[in-house]
């Protein structure tokens, strides 16, 4: 083969390797999906969604407490993170070149990169240690802290996409900056921000580590902020490492629910983002 022929053959070889890399990465994806669906689907019944767990060793029961618990926790997390994240995002897009903005962006990135278990430690020190017991509040706070940087960054990006002429138009009509920001700019960016929030909520609903010693776990469900609470993720973990087959079965079902939520929100986010981009391009 000529030198040029050899180079081209090698180039073709590398191209094939890259394609193989893609396929290789998809293998675990399908592997995981397949197992979760196969093992979990049969256990997804009415009981699973409505019954409380049975005592240790008994079969049957469900994960109603855990599902409700997760919903409750993300509600608390959202209540903390959405206002903070949104308004911080507003600040970042209104005053982008101040020192505070740079510091905020930097620390938001840092916060985003902190391992979730370390956030759990912080929430523990803040909320659990002073009162010496686990609580839903502590878990919600931990999850909330994790959401803040995502929401802030999404809000900033989307607000920046709204044409500045909208703000100027409002100001020229005599609006105050806060009115321009909250009643003109924010609503314009809202669809995308909503998607970002939903994606963030879906992401933290899959978190386990920060809940292990904040919200801890609970066989029942009480809507009290100061009591420990079950969550789908921690429940799946507890069941998975237990020796009971019936619990393993339910763990797979729980995993299926988690994966479905994630999948649905990912698709949703993509669809909305694509539609938004199309709108902005015209």
């Amino acid at each position: 083969m000529t030198q040029s022929g050899r180079r081209k053959a090698f180039s073709r070889f590398v191209e094939i390797l890259c394609g193989a890399a893609v396929l290789l990465a998809l293998v675990p994806l399908f592997f995981v999906f397949f197992y979760v669906v196969q093992q979990g689907f049969s256990s997804l019944n009415w009981d699973f969604f409505t019954k409380m767990p049975k005592p240790v060793g008994e079969t049957g029961g469900g994960m109603a407490n855990a599902i409700l618990g997760t919903l409750y926790l993300i509600a608390i997390a959202g209540a903390l993170a959405i206002p903070v994240g949104l308004i911080a995002g507003v600040y970042l897009s209104e005053y982008p070149r101040t020192r505070l903005a740079t510091a905020t962006r930097f620390t938001a990135d840092v916060l985003n990169g902190i391992p979730s278990i370390v956030i759990g430690i912080f929430a523990y020190s803040l909320v659990v240690m002073p009162v010496k017991h686990f609580s839903a509040l502590a878990g919600g706070v931990a999850l909330g802290f994790m959401m803040i940087p995502i929401i802030a960054r999404t809000a900033e990006e989307l607000l920046n996409l709204v044409p500045g002429t909208l703000r100027e138009g409002a100001l020229a009509l005599g609006a105050t900056r806060s009115r321009a920001a909250f009643s003109v700019m924010l609503p314009a960016a809202l669809p995308g921000i909503m998607t970002g929030i939903l994606v963030a909520l879906a992401r933290i609903s899959g978190e386990t580590a920060p809940l292990l010693f904040t919200a801890f776990n609970n066989r029942f469900f009480t809507m009290r902020l100061d009591q420990p609470i079950a969550s789908l993720t921690v429940q799946v973990y507890t069941y998975a490492i237990s020796p009971y087959d019936d619990w393993h079965r339910q763990a797979w079902a729980g995993a299926l629910v988690l994966v479905t939520v994630v999948f649905v929100f990912s698709v949703l986010a993509r669809v909305v983002t694509r539609r938004l981009e199309r709108m902005h391009r015209t």
């Binding site: 000529t2 030198q3 040029s4 022929g5 180079r7 081209k8």
Partner: protein
């Protein structure tokens, strides 16, 4: 000599580009005579982006060891055609080429053509200089290295020859291993020319090589082109007509994807055959 084809009514209208109206085609094939051999030739080249035809029946001959300039208003297809000559358009998706482009008589779009060697024989210099983030030496030696054109021991010699050829040697000989990105714009462009010359091409295509440079750097490039034509066949796309008049022996005027007129430079600029060429050259549009 090409006939004047423009009708009376067209002469009266203001020379704006009318949507949908094609410029007049020369009625007879150009009887341009060349004294030297023909290095490259295109025969009825048609080029399509998807379903959109960008070049219509371009037939042109490029004589060796000369400078041919392509001029025309923006979007007329001159750069697209230039890039057909070394098949650079191949890297764009969804394109189609019909017709022939011959290099020394062989169709470069024919079956079994080795594009890698083609691009070695027909080199290209781009509008904005694009040196690699490497040393000056490594930039010039890049083509030699990947094509395996000479043993490593000979490379310093070939690099020096190329840098001398692009009139950059004296300025960089003491810092061959400094980063190429530290050079000025004009120097970077001459470096890119050296890089192209290092592989000893037969044809050098230049796509508006001086458009991003200041007047002094531009002048250096033009002087360089004048020197290079002794050894290389050069085709240069330029939107600067004075430049075309200064450096080239032959000029081709393109418009709306068609070759309107192709003749000796002095003839095109003093007594163009087509009215529309005259309008362009005198600055009535474009």
């Amino acid at each position: 000599m090409t006939e004047t084809v423009v009708s009376e009514t067209e002469r009266e209208r203001p020379p704006m580009l009318r949507v949908g109206a094609a410029p007049p085609e020369p009625k007879t094939a150009s009887s341009l005579e060349f004294t030297s051999a023909i290095r490259m030739e295109s025969r009825r080249l048609r080029f399509f982006y998807g379903s959109n035809q960008a070049l219509h029946d371009i037939s042109i001959r490029i004589p060796e060891k000369s400078v041919t300039a392509f001029i025309g208003p923006s979007g007329c297809g001159k750069s697209t055609f230039l890039r057909c000559l070394n098949r650079m358009n191949d890297i764009i998706a969804d394109i189609r080429v019909e017709g022939d482009v011959l290099l020394d008589g062989k169709d470069i779009y024919g079956p079994g053509v080795d594009i890698v060697s083609l691009r070695r024989r027909v080199g290209m210099v781009f509008q904005k200089s694009n040196p690699f983030p490497k040393s000056i030496f490594d930039n010039v030696a890049y083509g030699l290295k990947i094509n395996g054109l000479c043993p490593t021991a000979e490379m310093p010699e070939r690099v020096e020859k190329a840098l001398r050829g692009s009139a950059l040697w004296d300025e960089v000989k003491d810092r061959l291993h400094a980063s190429a990105l530290g050079l000025s714009g004009g120097q970077q462009q001459r470096l890119c020319i050296a890089r192209a010359l290092a592989v000893e091409p037969e044809v050098v295509l230049m796509d508006e090589p001086a458009s991003a440079l200041d007047p002094i750097a531009t002048q250096k490039i033009e002087e360089l082109i004048y020197e290079l034509k002794r050894d290389y066949t050069i085709v240069i796309v330029t939107h600067n007509m004075q430049q075309a008049a200064r450096v080239s022996e032959y000029t081709a005027f393109f418009m709306l994807g068609r070759l309107v007129e192709h003749d000796r430079t002095d003839k095109i600029f003093t007594n163009p055959g087509q009215k529309i060429t005259e309008d362009y050259i005198t600055g009535r549009f474009g």
